[in-house]
Structures are given as C-alpha cells and as structure tokens.
C-alpha cells in the first residue's frame, strides 16, 4: 500500500494550485480532456469500478448514486455539490476550496459530462467567505480558458444553518426556501432540484474524480481498502499535539492517526475519548483506537466514519459537559420540522443541564435514555439521530461519571473540567425551554 500517496492534496506541497497554470503544471484538466473523449457512460463506469464512496458522511458509492438518476424525463439533470461543511470537528472541504479549487471544478466538469448535465450548483456554507472567493477566482480562470464548454457552474452561498448539509434541506435552501428536509421518497436522483433528476455529492468526493480518471479505477483501487478505495482527508482536532488535516489511505487506524501523525495527546495527558467522525457519531474509548478508519470497520466498532473529523478528548474533560455542549448544538440547529427532534433536543439539553448542576433525580439517567430511544429513527432526516448519538454513547461508555453527577453533589470535576463554563450560542437567545415531565 502506497501509504504516502496523496490524491486530493497532491501537488500542494510546492505549488499554489489555486492558480490555473500551476494546476495545469501538475496535469490539471488532463483528466477532463480524457473524460470528454469518452462516452458519458464510460466515465461513470470508471467511477463505479473505482468504488468511489461519498466522503461527506454516508459513504454511498458515487457511481451507484448516478445510476439511480431518472432517464429521459424531459427535464434537465442537475449536479449539486455539497460544500456546506458544518459538522463540528470537520474542516476538510474548506481546504479543498482554499487550496485546490481547480480539482473541485475539474471534478464537476467530468461528472457533468458523465451524467449529461450542463448545470452545476456548488452550495458553499456562508461562513466560508474566503473559500468562496478563492473558488470564484478559479472558476473565472476556467471560464476564460474555455474549459467550461457550455456547462454553467453557479456558486451559491449559504447563510449559516447546519441542517443545509442534509441533501434535501440543501435543495430546499437552494430553491430559496427555509432549509428543512423533504420526506423521501421521492429521492433526489428522481425528483431533486427544481423537481428534476439531481446528483448530489460532497466537495471532497467530486474533487477526487479527476484522480480516478487520471489513475484509472484499477490503480485507484490499490490505495485504501477493498471496500473503500482511495484516500480521505482526516481532520484532527481537540486535545491532540498536532491538529490539522492529513490525507491518508482509508483504513489507516485511529492509533496511527492520533499518535504517529498527530503526535499523540497534547501536553502529555491521558487519552479519554475519541470522536471519530465529527460530533454526531458515537464516541470510542481508548481501547478501541486500533480500529481502521474506513466506513465498514468503524461501523463494526459501533460508530460512523462521518466526515473523518477526529476529535481527541483528554482526561481533564467532563463527559456530561461534553454531552451537554453537543446537545446544545443540535438543539440550536434542529430545523423544527419534526417534533421528536425539535422537542427531544430541548429535553436532552434540559436533562443534561440538571445532571451537570447536581440537581438531577436518581431516575434522570433512565429518563435520558428514554428520551434518546424515543428520538432515534423518528425524524425525516438524520439530525434527530445525530443529537442522540453523542448523548447515548457518552452515557453508555462513561456511565460511572454520569452516575457520580447524580449520586454525589454534582460534577466530580468541581470546576476543573477543561470545558468548564463553555457558553453555547443558544444561551444568547431567549428561547424558553419547556419543562420535562417526570424526573
């Protein structure tokens, strides 16, 4: 396995790939020329053969997704790129736009050719102003160089809403509505943007497409693991000595990522917990870090690959406070459409607040589990589940710490937790939190 082979970040060590001529110097847009010389189906066959899986979270194979696009509908086919990166812990897509925007644009043009689309929308999270400007400048160079060949690429800026990373909420937002998820079916490949067949992929997935064409499926599949070929950009953050983005083959273990690449836990502290895929996935304990980071292995270990955003937590952190801070985020971001998510996220915050304050009844831990059970799988999109995974997994794996909050006189860290007193944006608003019945 070529462990140092990079795909997404290739060439960035010694070149400014935001510039077209520099990108061309490393073979940029040659894959596009290759693709355009092929029949569209041959392009998609290559992507399918490479088993290029979605780097945004769900890991769905891109080629299979494209095969679901409705044919001969008399409507246009749209390509929508999800650049609304907002998962806490994730910052990989930002770097794609910031450092290799041409790789994203080339991926868009190859994919557009493959699916027979002439209309591409890139939905960029509103906060990423600099990244939007860099991508816009790159797009202008591409246009001037005559590479668009009749394809329009519209950069659409979001305005601050985590939910818009959910594909149907993103489509609603792009159509000018509040970003609230749609019921499915129909799925976007059949009825997506403006009621037309729509292919939606994450920035990092699309930006890998040129390399798939350049290397060919067979070579691409030699990197990573058979069920998930290629590389991923792993985002290391939290209490790790050298945080940052690191591109490595899929299947690299969490231990390698945290210790060999990230330099271990910062300040010589003890490792307490690892959140492997962004704040929405179940936590792993130190004895589980030999798990390889690929979709299937991490799922077998009881968590999710998510956006490969690895948050390292050291022994100074109170897990009740961490669960509360995560729950506050999901309460803030719940779009309000589905009752279990809208109300459940508020109940989680309220229960965790009183557990942390030492004001919980002994039965409140069961009540917390009960609320989690009643939220799971009961909303239109995954946000209702994402709110549950941190809370239920911290409670299950750090149960003694939660119990100490209930049976003792409050937080056992007595004001010394590393995230003590952290203020969430919801604390700035005047939303009254409804009382939880019981407890």
């Amino acid at each position: 396995m070529a462990s140092n082979q990079t795909l997404l970040t290739a060439g960035t060590e010694d070149r400014d790939l935001t510039r077209l001529e520099e990108y061309r110097a490393v073979g940029g847009y040659e894959a596009l020329a290759k693709a355009r010389a092929l029949e569209p189906q041959a392009v998609m066959d290559e992507i399918t053969a490479a088993t290029l899986r979605g780097r945004g979270g769900a890991g769905f194979p891109m080629g299979r997704k494209a095969s679901l696009l409705a044919k001969d509908t008399g409507r246009p086919v749209y390509l929508v790129v999800n650049a609304d990166e907002s998962e806490p812990g994730a910052f990989k897509d930002r770097d794609v736009m910031r450092f290799t925007p041409h790789r994203l644009i080339e991926g868009c043009l190859i994919t557009a050719h493959g699916i027979g689309s002439t209309s591409v929308f890139i939905y960029i999270r509103g906060e990423y102003l600099h990244e939007f400007e860099v991508t816009r400048a790159a797009l202008e160079e591409t246009r001037k160089a005559g590479l668009l060949a009749g394809v329009t690429i519209v950069l659409h800026r979001g305005a601050g809403a985590y939910i818009c990373g959910e594909e149907t909420a993103l489509l609603e937002s792009l159509e000018g509505s509040r970003g609230q998820p749609r019921p499915r079916p129909p799925f976007p490949p059949v009825t997506g943007l403006y009621d037309a067949p729509t292919q939606i992929n994450n920035v990092s997935t699309i930006a890998l497409v040129p390399k798939v064409l350049e290397l060919g499926a067979a070579e691409f599949a030699k990197i990573g693991v058979p069920s998930a070929p290629g590389t991923a950009v792993f985002s290391l953050s939290g209490n790790v000595a050298q945080p940052g983005n690191y591109e490595r083959p899929l299947g690299t273990t969490l231990r390698e990522l945290i210790y060999d690449i990230g330099g271990g836990v910062a300040n010589g502290r003890e490792l307490k917990a690892v959140i492997p895929g962004g704040s929405s996935v179940p936590v792993l304990t130190p004895d589980e870090i030999d798990t390889p980071m690929d979709y299937d292995s991490i799922q077998a270990a009881g968590s999710f690959f998510g956006s490969a955003a690895i948050i390292v937590v050291d022994d100074r952190c109170c897990m009740v406070q961490l669960a509360l801070r995560a729950a506050q985020f999901y309460m803030h971001e719940s779009c309000g459409k589905c009752t279990p998510c809208r109300v459940g996220t508020r109940w989680l915050v309220q229960l965790l607040t009183r557990i942390e304050a030492g004001e919980a009844a002994p039965t409140d831990l069961e009540l917390l589990e009960n609320v989690c059970d009643r939220m799971l799988g009961r909303s239109l999109c995954a946000l209702g589940d994402f709110a549950v995974y941190p809370v239920s997994s911290y409670l299950r794996k750090y149960r003694a710490e939660f119990e100490a909050h209930v049976t003792g006189a409050g937080c056992p860290f007595v004001g010394e937790s590393s995230i003590e007193g952290i203020i969430a944006p919801i604390a700035q608003h005047a939303h009254p939190v409804p009382e939880v019945v019981g407890g």
Partner: protein, 156 residues
C-alpha cells in the same frame, strides 16, 4: 438600497431557473446596504426586487444565523465555542473579549462599535480556538491576543 444593489440582485436572479433561489444573496446584499442588519424596509425592498412578499423574506432571514434581525455593532466578533474550540480553551478567549469590550456574549457595546457572540462550529477546528471578525477568520486566537485585536479594530 442603492440602485446598484438592486441591479446586482437582478443579475444574480438570472443565474437561477426560479427567482426565489436568489433570496439568500438578495438578503445578504440588503443587509450590507443597511449597515449589517435587516430592518423592516429591507424586507420590502428584497420583496419588490424578487416579486415575493416581505413576510416570505422575513421567514428566510429568521431561519439562518448570518442574517441579523436587530442592529449589530460596526464590528462583529464571533467566537466559536463548539467542541474542538472548547477543548482548546475557547471559553477563556470569549471571556477575554467580554471583559475587553464590557459586554456579555450576544450583546452590542453601548457605543455601537462591537457585537460579541458565541457561534457554532466555524470549521477551523485544526487551528482552534477560532475567532471570526467581520467574516475574516483569525485562527488560533489566545486570550492574550484579544486586547491587541480589539485595539486594532478600534483604530480602524
């Protein structure tokens, strides 16, 4: 809004098959025109530009975090307090801004110079804690950097 701003909205509108898709950019332009927030007349202006109702424009603005429905300070200071930034000490950075500016998170200084707010994950977790000032990222920011940062902004 200035006529140039209205013309810009009409240009953006043409990028989309349905004009409502331009509402987010239109609100962003209107907000800039009105000094960083969206007063009632901004909704009427955007509504006129896109042939929609002011109530519809308000329903969009109230959904997203980056539209302000109340006046904000000349400078907007946003401190990320999500997990990775919290683990890297964001609370001390937020406290430093609060004490330097004399306001609590969510408030605007009396002279209208600064609005301070805690925000959710800004996507700079690898260089935490992240502070975003007037939409420009500063990463990382330590509590000891805060006084100098504020002084620089006051001098602008």
């Amino acid at each position: 809004m200035r006529p140039e701003a209205v013309a810009e909205i009409q240009r953006i509108r043409k990028r989309y098959p349905r004009s409502r898709s331009a509402v987010m950019d239109a609100l962003r332009i209107a907000q800039t025109e009105h000094g960083g927030w969206l007063p009632p007349e901004a909704f009427r202006e955007v509504a006129d530009a896109l042939d929609v109702t002011p109530a519809y424009c308000h329903s969009i603005a109230s959904f997203y975090d980056m539209y302000h429905l109340e006046p904000v300070g000349e400078h907007l200071v946003e401190v990320c307090t999500n997990l990775s930034c919290a683990l890297a000490g964001a609370q001390a950075v937020l406290d430093a801004f609060a004490s330097e500016l004399g306001v609590r998170p969510g408030e605007t200084t009396e002279d209208g110079g600064f609005t301070l707010r805690a925000v959710e994950c800004a996507g700079g977790c690898g260089r935490a804690p992240v502070v975003v000032v007037d939409h420009v990222y500063h990463e990382p920011v330590r509590p000891e950097d805060v006084a100098g940062l504020v002084e620089g902004l006051r001098g602008e």
